[in-house]
Structures are given as structure tokens and as C-alpha cells.
Subunit: 209 residues, 2 copies
DNA sequence: TGCCCACTCATCCCTCGGTATAGGCGCGAC
DNA sequence: GTCGCGCCTATACCGAGGGATGAGTGGGCA
């Protein structure tokens, strides 16, 4: 059976890596093992729902710092933290930074599986949402500047003639652009276009009110 | 100056309560002091942005359990946890349950002020958003059942005549209900109505597609 | 230079949205 | 019973949406 989800394990203790490897494989999860943060960054990661199981104490860099670096670098992967010698401030920092869980060694297998299960599920949802949004953004990019302007005003609730006034155009021209925007965005109704604009978080065109 | 925000302090140690009281007052924050979770629940809480500073160890009930009870009871107040004798699993549980921070005694005044500042700010935003939503819900409640049905289909992108077919009505009737819904909701355009429906999280009327 | 494309505008025509006016039915409150 | 209200429908009218066809301008690029 092909992998459907992958757990990335970053720990400098090879015996723990292998123990986790067999634990995850026993529940049909794919695995990748790394001895350091650098190895993880250098590796090519499969395009699948995945998560990162990260030891706090790593060669070279703290797992907590690494976690924050990933966020800033735009690598959105759910993180499960673990440590042998942690303290409360560490765990709080990790959780504030969005970790799914923070496990202290030794932990029960089931706790780790629960955390990883939650993490994978969250990544699955994020990937799905990101995919939808990316497709939408692609359509939006294909709009001409004028079409974008018209779309912004239309989804703000302006009538064609008002848009024409706002942009100093003839009403017919607005209709053309409006129709083009609808077609290019694949919106079959104004309602759909409004929802797309919401999803794209287009800056609300502040007209009138 | 009148209070603009309130910190609720729940701790069975009266000397710590007083210390926190003066700390918060020194930065113009209102305070309320309680020796137990029950006292907090029994008290009348002002209608202002606020947060809860909660000791983990309380008479009768754990602060963590209390935090979860509040959530389930629908009391949405940001919580800052603190403890003298905590461990990592406790802190993780608290953070998972949505605590703003988890401080270990003794903590630095500034850390507490930072946490409370974040908590108050979050509550301020939540209250504002809740208020808007409540006003919207009120308008929606005022709609007749038919108007709600029509609104659902309209914001799903259906044309009047399609809605008429869906509901077995004459098109003119749909127009009436549609107009009434717009008027009652205070929407000045279809776009606005769609956004209101989104904000209300109306179940997407699944027609056609 | 020639072509593509974004942008612009016009005229025609049809559909759709929205309001006003007016009427009928059923049900619960007073 | 009468009143109010939600609900349904009809006729008529007008303004807004939107497509088709046609056509002109200017900028970028091979």
C-alpha cells in the first residue's frame, strides 16, 4: 500500500528514532528519519499530509528555535514536541508557538500516536484548504487590473453605474469587465463571486459608507 | 477614571491576591479578587473586557478542571494560569485548553502584565465580534420562516425563478420575501446579504451542483 | 511593421430584480 | 368576531444586469 501520510522524526538519538519508526509503521504511517534539523531541511519531503516529531534538544539548534524558524520560513507543518529534560517555560513556549503536543520522555506510545494523529489530521485539512485557495488565487491572478478594480467594487455591493462613476468609465465598460471577471473566476452568480472575494481576503473597497 | 478593563484574580493565597491587585491597579486595570472558583462564579462580573488569572491549586477544584468547566459552560474569558508546583503535563493541558499563558511562581511582574495585556486585548476583540454577530442574529431571528428559506437560496446564488421552482412558489412571491429579507436584515445589496449569511454561518443550501 | 491584448464605448435586445397596488386565505390574540 | 400577521398571488412598470456585435485606441513584443 502506498503511503498516505508521513511522520518526520527529528531526534539525535538513533535508538529513539528507530523505536518511533516502528511505532508509526505499525499503524500504517510512513516515516522519515533525521538526526538533525539541517537534515530535515535538506531532505525532499513528499507531497502528503505529514507532521513533524521534534526533539527539543538537538545538535546545533534548539528544537523550539527550529520550530519558530519553520513558521517564519512559511513551512506550515504541525509539530509534536518531545523532550527528556524539559521545563514548564519550554513547554509553554512550544505550545504558544502552535505545537500540537509536548511530550516528556518517557511517554506512552498511545500518547504519541494520539498527538501524531491529531497533527496529521490538521495538516490534511490545511492542505485541502490551501489547495482550494491556491486555485482561487490563480484565477484571480489571471484578471486584468481593471477587472480586479471592477470586481472589488462589485463585491462591495456597488451597482454598475456607481462603479462606472467611481472609475470614471461608461456603464457598458463596467459590464464588460464585470462579465469578464465572472467568467475568468468561474463564478456562476454574484453570490459565488462575493464568497470568492471573501476567501481571497480582498481588501474591502471602502466606497460610500 | 472609570474602569475600562477588569482582571479577575482567583487564588486561595490572600497575600498573592493583594500583590496582584496592586500590580494591576498600578497599570490602570480594574480588579476583582476571589478566594475560590465558586466565589468567581457567584460574583456579578462587569460588562467590560476582562480576563481571568487563575491559580492551578484551588480549594475544592483544580484550576485546570475549572478552566474546562468554564469553556463548556460557554463562559468565554481568556485565562492566564499560574502555579507554584506545576509540571509539564499540567502546563500542556492548560495551553491546549486555550490558556493565554502559564506562569510558574515566582514570576516576574512584567511577564504577568504581558500575559494579562494579551488576554485583555483578545477579550476586547472577541466581545466586539460577538456583539456584531449578536446584532446580526437578532435581525435574522426577526425573519419569517419563508423569508429565511428564500434568503438561503438567494445567497446560494439561485435566481428568483429558480427559488420559486425549488419552493413551489410564484416568482413574484419570491421577490416579496427576498425584498423583505433584505429590508429586515438591513442589507443594501446582495453582496452584503451574502456576507451576513457567511457571518451567520447559515448552512449552505445545496441546490443543483 | 504587424499582431495581441487590455481598455474603451456604442446600440440592440432580452432577462432579471425590485417596488407598488391590490386581493385572498388561514391562524392566533384580544 | 375582528384585528394583525404571515403567507400567497397577480398585474404593471421601471431600472439593473448581461450578452452579442462592432469598433476604436494605445502599449508591448516578435
Amino acid at each position: 500500500m502506498a503511503e498516505t501520510a508521513v511522520v518526520h522524526i527529528v531526534d539525535d538519538d538513533s535508538s529513539l528514532r528507530l523505536a518511533l519508526d516502528s511505532l508509526f509503521r505499525s499503524v500504517q504511517l510512513g516515516t522519515r528519519l533525521y538526526g538533525s534539523a539541517q537534515d530535515f531541511l535538506a531532505a525532499k519531503r513528499p507531497d502528503l499530509p505529514s507532521c513533524l516529531v521534534l526533539d527539543i534538544r538537538l545538535p546545533g539548534i534548539s528544537g523550539l528555535d527550529f520550530q519558530q524558524q519553520l513558521q517564519q520560513a512559511g513551512v506550515h507543518i504541525p509539530v509534536v514536541l518531545m523532550t527528556g529534560h524539559g521545563d514548564i517555560p519550554m513547554s509553554v513556549r512550544g505550545m504558544k508557538a502552535g505545537a500540537i503536543d509536548f511530550l516528556t520522555k518517557p511517554f506512552r506510545d498511545q500518547d504519541m500516536l494520539d498527538a501524531v494523529g491529531t497533527a496529521i489530521e490538521r495538516d490534511r485539512e490545511r492542505r485541502s484548504a490551501d489547495g482550494d485557495l491556491a486555485r482561487l488565487r490563480e484565477l484571480y491572478e489571471a484578471l486584468s487590473p481593471r477587472e480586479r478594480e471592477v470586481m472589488a467594487l462589485v463585491v462591495a455591493g456597488r451597482m454598475n453605474k456607481q462603479v462606472a462613476g467611481d472609475l470614471n468609465l461608461a456603464e457598458i465598460t463596467v459590464k464588460i469587465h464585470r462579465g469578464a471577471a465572472m467568467r475568468k473566476m468561474g463564478a456562476r452568480s454574484l453570490a459565488e463571486l462575493v464568497r470568492m472575494a471573501e476567501a481571497l481576503q480582498l481588501p474591502r473597497a471602502a466606497v460610500g459608507r
